[in-house]
Assembly symmetry: C2
Homo-oligomer: 644 residues x 2
């Protein structure tokens, strides 16, 4: 695979092989709807907000100080603050690819110039290490985050190279010089070390794909294989925190720090695919299965522990202490997407959808200038209104905050939204697969030269109609296959194909995927109708934290009970026996009863006879989880106790 | 109150006033049984084990280095390591008071001499601060623990002064000189500061009681009142961590770090009682009520968060991530005991009992040489056998560990067990109150000179018979009142009074207290019979984490299901519908069904019809919670799901 090849793909992930080929920004364009709105806010507000914070926090200024030779004096931010600048550059690159905004182009070039000026003569780049008065380079692999930061630099350079291959702004060259330093230090003949925070692996793998230089893939492979051999020092929470406890190919589930775990798994998937390592790929599929079956919240969120931002054990999924870091959601999408490309399994697309709607969409405020870092599923105490100027600890409030001391999440959301077009559809030799449903324009060429072009019209998830309108005849009238994903919850989905000539072909569509293969003509319409009725969902009996509870879902969206609507704290509410959610005035409602009341003094008493008189029920509207905490301080719960 | 007065009481707490007067070691002696066994192991093994670790970890050596003037070179341990030496001295003092062991006396004097040699010329004492190359004294009130360490020094000196007032070993003088430094620095004209870890308050209050010097009580009062005014820097978890968020008299519940919260509440109770501050005392009673009703585990354990070792919000009581630090249990006993002395409320004695049996008794291994730091209520993954030589992180294993990097718990258990005789009974003007049931000899003099002397015979909690055998006639045949506590769970308790002449008086005894007032004669026997049948206990509907579960209790003991007995992991087990615990072969058993099985892929599915065929049930024995993890690595759960 050459540089020419992968820079033609405007997508964050471009594997050397696999079941599906991703379609990038030049081939898929989201044109509106739920995600189009969020992309617009991201481009119009969030990117400016992030740059303003990177300046005011001094994290961009650190590069200027490096260039001026005045460091370490005045350096601000944590060890990993450089990485936020790189994620911002990645987000800008995708946004420029998406919109061609010249103001953003100027902004990017200006930041790249400041980064370039900070690079050391030998290619090393980090504002925290290596200068007189700073710690030595690579002297703190556990916590220093040097390789982690470079991994984000590489992803930014890859995004730029794929969206503006002829830009000559120098970002790719900066990345290549830094990558060469990494290979010299940590190559097969070099130091047997890994970074305490995985990320350099995905960065190196994509850099290899963009540049065609196999050394970077080999370096990624070395880092992946070195995990699990205890080269990092042990810590209170164990080496599982860094995934340095068990080799990647021997692990049975993701574990430890949830962002690290997903980033590493994503990098390992890149290595497995590009090196043809089927054993490693199979191990990663097994880890994904187990993690989804036993260690994932109903929102798609991952990470049960505040203490170490980590996965819990199997079935350990507390709602009230859910950490479910926004970045772990982003990492889960990175990992799932790579497996999807490799295998074509629609379950991975479904987890991505669930995570997008209930984690990624939940984090930013409607104005794009405040964010959730952690995403609890049960808020017990109303938070204080966030100070729009304040920098917050990472997970202390029930309200979105403008910035964090560890501010990984805002730029992670920004780069994900800006590149989201590239997660909508894929192609194989015979056609195109739609994985996510949004208003979109799709146009690509299959391997044999057939052009595929269609628009998607939908207001999903508000309703379940997804219409694919073919815009060009299949070249030489050759048939191709349109594959549509039918979510697991969409029992009773229905497909109709209306030909340009007016004939209609209808059939049921079972969960999984549904295919339409024909010599498509311009004007042909394929409509998939997903049933968008609300549903009550119960947890596996082994998930202790939400036993006896149900969650209301509709389509890919999880709903919540919020005190703003309930008129009281939600801690004593339960679903009225036998009741089901219903729609009224455009909202979902449930009947609840109140089981609060006076304290018992000691809250553990003889098992009570439940035949006592039941309090009257009342109807309370629900809120989509991604819309909670937008009306001021509140308490909230996703899982609603089911009164027995 | 003069020094003479309080040194006659061999008890850790000797308030100036209150509803009840504590009976100390000279008045109450535990003579065997459940607690007598543990006291014996504590004296024979634990104290030696602790000293050996204090030596090998270098924490005692720090004092030698201080004396030699070689610090900071070679100093070992955390900021608070001095306090473990002081808690060890306190434990030794009580054990000497209890047993008069000359070997322990030598050991204590040797350690006191090393501490004395480390004290600075002006009375300041801490091995971590104030020397050239160390941070300045009092320069880190948030984390430095200087006042915290001195609080433990004061408690040790008080224990020694009360058990050996004529010892002349110098420990009390060391404490007085250090307390004078504290008063000079932090007095009304001094620095407006508090310690990030409460403890100095209880220490100063008792030191005031022992010495009769009112300055120390006033200093304790100042520290109590200064809490809640934000003099400490804010931290990620908020100032509630240090109880510096809300003034003590305005708080509604204990919050923040659970050990700090209880120690502060205990010190505040001392101040409220001795200064006659009824408002403060009422606030503390309210906090106790709310904390017990909403923030306490069924074991009596407190603290829901690993991250900050803190109380959670109301109803936030996860079983699997229960922190329930052993020291928080000790702190809860300290706080409850002070309120009990002030008010006479048997609910405080009941919480103490629950905490003793299910937290304090759970921590040490049967050999007294390994400990739980945290006390989970649900172990999901078997731990690795503890290395008997290794020092562990504080809460990482499912198995007891010999020592911890933060090793507050072992000496805290040791001092509690060594002083336990002083928590058994109290006196008022009219008689004696028995709060805890253990084989014991009680002999005291009431205020008007009447002698009360009796033995307690019981094998409680193995059975529920508590026999009080009067050993001396009431002087001048004057009547006195024996008050016995009847636990809340003891519905159907029965009391009989058999006079020395053979006549019998019988009656039922409702939960609360039962009184027998008569002119007791030697040979009179009062027998309280508590019903020791097992019971199923359910949680308040607002405790989300254990909804749909029950716990098996018998008497004051909580029971657990352990994989060693269940023959499999306990994660999929549920109580068979309609079944009740039963006794067989001297153990408690339950019928369980297995609800585990194949993973569903995605663990959230449409609410299932529960009419599916139910798996066969089988009988599994339970283990007393305090005896779990004594047979190797296991999984365990206290709360058992009740299959609906």
């Amino acid at each position: 695979m050459t540089m020419q090849n992968t820079t033609t793909l405007q997508t964050p992930v471009a594997p050397a092989r696999g079941r599906l080929r991703p379609l990038g920004q030049r081939e898929v364009r989201i044109t509106g709807g739920f995600w189009g709105d969020r992309q617009r806010v991201n481009g119009a507000a969030t990117l400016e907000h992030i740059q303003s914070r990177l300046e005011s926090e001094g994290w961009l200024g650190n590069f200027d100080r490096a260039a001026a030779g005045t460091l370490p004096e005045g350096r601000r931010g944590r060890e990993f603050s450089d990485s936020e600048v790189y994620k911002f550059l990645e987000a800008l690159s995708w946004e420029i690819g998406r919109t061609d905004d010249p103001a953003l182009e100027d902004r990017l070039r200006s930041v790249v110039a400041r980064v370039a000026a900070a690079q050391e003569a030998d290619g090393y780049l980090n504002t925290m290490f290596g200068r007189p008065g700073q710690r030595d380079r690579w002297s703190d692999l556990e916590w220093g985050h040097e390789l982690y930061c470079l991994g984000h630099l590489f992803q930014a350079a890859v995004a730029r190279a794929r969206t503006r291959p002829d830009a000559e702004d120098g970002l790719l060259a900066i990345a290549v010089r830094a990558a060469d330093v990494v290979c010299a230090e940590f190559g097969a003949q070099g130091r047997d070390g890994i970074c305490g925070h995985a990320e350099v692996e995905v960065g190196l793998a994509e850099l290899s794909r963009v540049t065609g230089d196999p050394r970077y893939l080999e370096q990624a492979r070395l880092f992946v294989e070195r995990h699990g051999h205890g080269t990092l020092r042990d810590i209170e929470w164990g080496r599982s925190y860094f995934q340095d406890d068990v080799p990647v190919r021997e692990a049975v589930a993701l574990r430890g720090h949830a962002v690290r775990a997903n980033y590493l798994a994503a990098g390992a998937a890149d290595v497995a695919v590009d090196t043809g390592d089927e054993d490693l790929l199979a191990a990663l599929h097994g880890q994904w299965d187990r993690t989804v079956a036993r260690r994932t919240y109903v929102t798609g969120g991952q990470g049960s522990h505040h203490q170490d931002e980590a996965f819990g054990e199997d079935w350990e999924l507390p709602a009230d202490r859910a950490y479910s870091e926004t970045c772990a959601g982003v990492g889960s999408i990175m990992f799932s997407w790579r497996l999807l490309l490799a295998s074509g399994d629609p379950r991975q697309a479904e987890l991505i959808e669930r995570t997008l709607y209930n984690v990624v969409a939940t984090s930013p405020a409607p104005d794009g200038r405040a964010f959730f870092y952690a995403n609890t599923l049960h808020q017990r105490v109303p938070g204080s209104p966030a100070d729009p100027e304040a920098t917050s600890p990472r997970a202390s409030s029930s309200l979105r905050a403008p910035w964090f001391e560890v501010s990984c999440c805002p730029p992670n959301v920004a780069r994900t939204l800006a590149s989201l077009d590239a997660y909508v559809a894929t192609a194989d030799d015979d056609g195109v697969q739609l994985h996510q449903y949004a208003p979109a324009a799709v146009r690509t060429m299959l391997a044999d030269g057939r052009t595929v072009a269609f628009d998607v019209e939908t207001d999903y998830p508000a309703s379940g109609s997804i219409r694919v309108i073919v815009r060009e005849d299949a070249a030489t009238a050759a048939p191709w296959t349109l594959t549509l994903r039918v979510p697991e919850w969409a029992t009773g989905a229905h497909l109709s194909v209306t030909s340009a000539d007016g004939s209609v072909d209808e059939r049921d569509a079972a969960p999984g995927t549904v295919e339409v293969r024909r010599a498509f003509r311009a004007g042909d319409v394929v409509e998939l109708v997903l049933p968008m009725t609300s549903r009550l969902t119960a947890p596996d009996a082994r998930i202790d934290a939400v036993r006896g509870c149900v969650v209301v879902e509709r389509g890919p969206e999880v709903f919540a009970l919020e005190s703003v609507d309930a008129g009281a704290d939600v801690s004593g509410l339960a679903l009225a026996p036998g009741s089901a959610p219903f729609e009224r005035d455009g909202r979902l409602w449930v009947e609840v009863i109140d089981r609060g009341g006076e304290d018992a003094g000691w809250p553990y008493q003889a098992s009570a006879d439940e035949s006592a008189e039941r309090p009257a029920s009342r109807a309370v509207p629900l809120v989509a989880y991604h819309e909670w905490a937008q009306r001021g301080p509140s308490t909230m719960r996703v899982w609603i106790p089911a009164a027995s």
